[in-house]
Each structure stands twice: as C-alpha cells, then as structure tokens.
C-alpha cells in the first residue's frame, strides 16, 4: 500500500458509512433536540433569577482576572422545602397513577376482547381505537368542555332523563381531569396490550382447561401473567406523559387540580422565574427516570422473547 493510499484510508476512517449514518441520524436528532436543550435547562436551573435578558444570571463569570463559578442550589432547596412544590409533585403522581390504573381497567378488557375477534374485525376495532387521534389533541380536549359543562351535553341529557334536578359540577374539578386523561391516553394502553394479547397461544388456555382450570382461573394463571410485559408497557406509556400533563388539567381540571405541569408554566410565564422553572423540569425528569428504566427493561424482554 502506498503512502497516499494510507492517507486516503486515514481520512476515510472519519467519513461515516451507510450503516453508521442510519444509526447515527436518530442519535444526532436526540443530541440536537433532547441532550443539548436538556443541558441548557440544567444550566439555567443552577442560576439565579434576574431582571434581564435572558432573565437569569450567568453561572461562569470572568471578573477581575478570575473565573467565578456560581452554582446556585437555591432553586432545588426551594423545591424541597416549599411544600407547594412537593405537594404539586405528589399530586401529579397521584393523578397520573389513578388515571393510569383507570386506563388499565378500561383498556385491558377492550384489548382482550379485540384480540379474541376474527382478524378482519380486529383491524376495524383497532382502527376505531386509533381513529380519534387523527383529530387534534387540543380539539378533543376542548370537546370535553362541551360535554362536561354545566349546560353541556351530559348534564342536559341527565336532566332530560329526570335523573338529576340541578346540573352536576364536573368541569373544572379533578374528576374532569381524570376523564380527560383517561380518554386521551386510552389508545396508548390498548395498543401495547393488544399486541401482547393477540400473540397469546390459545393452546396454552386449552392446556389449562384440560388440566382442570375453569376459564376465569386460566385467565388469572395464564393470560394475565403472560400479558405482564404488555401491562408494563401500557402503564408506562400512559403514566410517564400523564405526570407532566399540562393541557388537560389546565382546560378541564380547574384551579383545584394541582399538577406539576401547571406549576412549571406559571413559574416560567407568570413569575418569569426561569431558573426555578428549570429546576422543576429537571426534578420531574429525574422522577420519571425510574419508570422509564422499568419500561425499557420490559421492552427489552419483549424483544428478546423471554417471558417472566
């Protein structure tokens, strides 16, 4: 090999091949739109609020021939000492958890029944589950205002049916937020459960019947444990975004629905306290890291085809 060839090989080493490009593009995307923005948010969370443009102090300053690094931990101590924030986190997790459980309770039977349909009926049923997502998320949430309002569709029907005399106050209560979250996130529960349940080998159930299990026992001992990965996936796909949900509690939940997304919004836009808002976001992400890791592990297992 001549010297020039060697040099050519030398610089070609740094030009990514097709394979590397295919893998590289999503990583580049994540770097640009997740890692770098997150690092910026992280940086801001360690600064102080300032009436300036941008409205926070610099962390590193060069003053009098010296680098001054000012890592302000005040935002984080505020988060953990001010009960308002702690309560907001707890309330967010509670609302997300309850809505996720409700979604599971509604979504599991749906996914189960759909997975037992004939293949053509299955496709139609899954289409119907996904179809509402073709409309804007905002419009669907807005539509619920029309349903749940004091003179909305629901109250008018109930009054027309003579079931109630005065309209029920549902809109602007936590109940409305629950309804909204369950409604919006149901497809994210049904989809992974369906993909899991549709793969269930029917002969395993027959084997269970054959060995003396009644249908409900076979469900508890075979179907339910074997759909565990689907349950975990659905649970995480609903739970993780629901914790940070802003639009639904804002539009349906009223002032009584305390969620961290709304705290973040008000710190950022109303109080213009970017550093504190950033700290709120960072802590939320760390909190969600645990369920995200659980989700990844179950996905990994599902891919490897290992069970339990």
């Amino acid at each position: 090999m001549s010297q020039t060839d060697k040099n050519a090989a030398g610089w070609r080493r740094w030009v990514p091949g097709v394979r590397a490009s295919v893998i590289g593009v999503p990583y580049l995307w994540l770097l640009l739109f997740f890692a770098i923005p997150f690092l910026i948010v992280l940086k801001i969370s360690f600064s102080k609020m300032a009436v300036a443009m941008p409205p926070y102090t610099a962390i590193v300053e060069y003053v009098d021939n010296a680098f001054n690094v000012n890592l302000n931990l005040g935002n984080y101590t505020a988060l953990f000492t001010d009960s308002q924030y702690v309560l907001a986190y707890l309330s967010s997790i509670k609302i997300a958890l309850i809505s996720t459980v409700l979604t599971l309770l509604i979504g599991y039977p749906m996914a189960y029944v759909i997975s037992r349909m004939s293949p053509s009926a299955r496709n139609i049923a899954m289409m119907l589950v996904v179809l509402p997502s073709w409309t804007s998320f905002l419009i669907r949430v807005y539509a619920w205002i029309g349903i749940l309002d004091s003179n909305g569709i629901l109250n008018r029907w109930l009054m027309a049916a003579g079931l109630i005399d005065t309209p029920l106050q549902i809109l602007n209560t936590p109940l409305a937020a629950y309804i909204g979250i369950v409604y919006c996130y149901l497809p994210f529960m049904v989809l992974p459960l369906y993909t899991n349940l549709v793969k269930l080998d029917h002969r395993l159930l027959e084997a269970a019947y054959d060995l003396g299990a009644k249908p409900w026992q076979a469900f508890l001992k075979i179907t339910l444990p074997l759909s565990r990965n689907g349950i975990v996936a659905g649970f995480m796909l609903v739970m993780i975004p629901a914790v940070g949900e802003f639009v639904i509690p804002e539009m349906l939940g009223g002032p009584g629905t305390l969620m961290i997304g709304r705290v973040l919004w008000s710190e950022f836009f109303t109080n213009r306290d970017w550093p504190l808002a950033s700290a709120v976001a960072v802590v939320m992400l760390v909190l969600l890291l645990i369920p995200i890791l659980i989700f990844n592990r179950s996905q990994q297992r599902e891919l490897e085809g290992k069970l339990a």
């Binding site: 002969r203 084997a207 054959d210 003396g212 299990a213 001992k221």
Partner: protein, 380 residues
Amino acid sequence: MPVDAKPDIRNDAIALNSEPGYLSIRDLRKEFDGFVAVDDVNLDVRKGEIFALLGGSGSGKSTLLRCLAGFETPTKGSILLDGQPITALPPYERPINMMFQSYALFPHMTVEQNIAFGLKQDGMAKDAITRRVGEMLELVQLEKLGKRKPHQLSGGQQQRVALARSLAKGPKLLLLDEPMGALDKKLRSKMQLELVNIIEQLGVTCVMVTHDQEEAMTMATRIAVMDQGWIQQIGKPDDIYEQPANRFVASFIGSVNLFEGVIDEDLPEYVTVRTADFPAPIYVGHGITGYEGQPVAFALRPEKVHIAKDEPEGETNKAFGVVEDIAYFGSHSVYHVRLPSGAKILSNFANMKRWDSDGITWNDEVWVSWDDNDGVVLTS
C-alpha cells in the same frame, strides 16, 4: 368387506369390536358451519390400550380427539368413559388429560410448576403435590431440571415435561396429539418406544392422533384409519397392513400394487380375478362368496412380489416385464417393472449382499411372481 385368509383372526377382531369398551364412542358426528368433520363414528377402546387415530389432514382425526378432550361439542352422538357419559362435560371436569402437539407448556412457569398445575387445580395438599411432582420427574427422568423454564429445555425434554404434566393427575384417559410431530426423525423412534414404555408401565388408556403410519404401527395396539370424517378400518397394525378393508386403506398404509378387475371364478376355496393388466387370471387361494362377476381390486404389497431373471417354477401368478426404474433405499430397492399390458408392478428387493454384480438392472427382462395367498381382493 375384506377378504380374509384366516377367518379365525377376523372373527376375533369382530368380537373385540363389539365388546363395550372402557372408552366408548357412539354415532359421533361433528359439523362446522355445514361442513361435516366427523361422521358416524363408533369406536370402543379397551382399558390399558394404546389406540391410534391415523389419517391425513382433514380426515377428522384431530376433531375426534378434540371432542374427547372436550374442546369441541359433538353435533350428535355420545361418549362414555368408564361407564360415565362425558359428552356434555367441559374439559376441566373430564378425567382426561392431553399431551398437546408442540406441547403447550406454560412458558412463564418452571418444569415443576407446569407439572403441578393440574394438581393445584384439584386442591391437592402442598406436600402431596411436591411428592407427586417428584414422582413424575423421576418417571420421565428429568429430576435435575425441575427448576428450569420450558425455553431452557431441548425438544425431547419438553416432550417429557408435557407427558409428565398430562400424567400427573392420573387421568382415566390420556390423549396424545401428534406426539412426535415436533421432534426430528432420529429422536422420534427413540421417544416412541420410551413413551410406550411409560404408558404401559402406568397402565393408562391412551388415544393418540397421528398422520405418520410408522408411528401408529410402532406405538399402537390398535389403529383406526380415518378418511373424510369416516373410520375406514379398525384393527391391529398387522391386520390393517395385511388385510386392508378397502382401496383407501390399502393405498394409505404403505405402498401397494392395485389392479382393477372382475371376479371370474368364485368358489369356497379359491377365486380368480380377471384383469386387463395380466394375461392370465390372478389366482387367490381363499374364498370370497357372492361377488362373481363383480368389479373388485386386487391389492398386492411390493415386498410380496418376487423378482427374478428366470421364469419361476410352479408359481401360478407370474408375469413377464421390463425393469423401468430402480429406487435405491439402502436396506432395499424398489423395482418398477412394466408389463406388456402397460401396467406397472412394484417389487421390493432386500439388499442382502453388499455388492451384487449379477443383480437386476435397468431394462432387464424379468419375471415377477407371488404366492396364492399374498394378495387381497378388495370389494370396496
């Protein structure tokens, strides 16, 4: 009806069939959306017997087995087990267990938990379950693998677990659905005998379904050959092979030379069959009454056909032809001999010598012949 050289065995078989069985199936019929999968099945299985349902796909054998297990409800007819009607019982109330095709082991449970599943359903005490599971593992020689998950086992080991699971409850009837279907050929013949040993050791009555005639012949005490939802013949493996009831059974089991003809002479001690394939009528050394002038088929197994270069002395049934093809199988070769009439006859020739220099080869002129009692006249 089959024509029989040995009437005593035939009568014996009839006596066995009419005796009410441990498992007794009466007038069973199963329809799916107007399609009849199983029709007019009457079957008696004796206690301790390994009974095989043999047939191709769509023969109704699997549907019949599923009716026994309780996964399908018969459209008509009844099933009695040990004197008890079970036709209306759901699968979980039947004293019947099944070893599924490809085993259907619970993937999320260990070997022990799989075997214990049925015992737990019965509400057996914990220590009794442990003891029983231990016995079962010992029976199938998997004592060391009790804590493994099914996916950590080989195909043969999975089959043993499936067998142990289906035997754990001590069922009155064991069902085997294509028991060797998921194993490779070498392992198959080993497991066939092992399975039979275990089943006979426990004395459990067993009905198996298979499409593999060798498997049915090796494992079963009796075989029911099924086609298009009907039972074509019930009998011991050698009965079915040597005395097929009809053209279907004759050609389904093993290979056969079938010649269509008519009964020429019909006498108590012999019949002759006239065919277009042979110059002389075929002489059959046993009687068949009431079929004179009727169309019949003459069935002759290839291994019963002798092949030689010289004209055989003293044989009545012989023909002259040319070797058209030779299929070499190692242990034996099959010679395809074309007769002057255009008909083809197959002859098996055991390769008893390593190198047969003056052996018969392609385009040789040969004589084929068979003994008077080596063929069967089929009337249906």
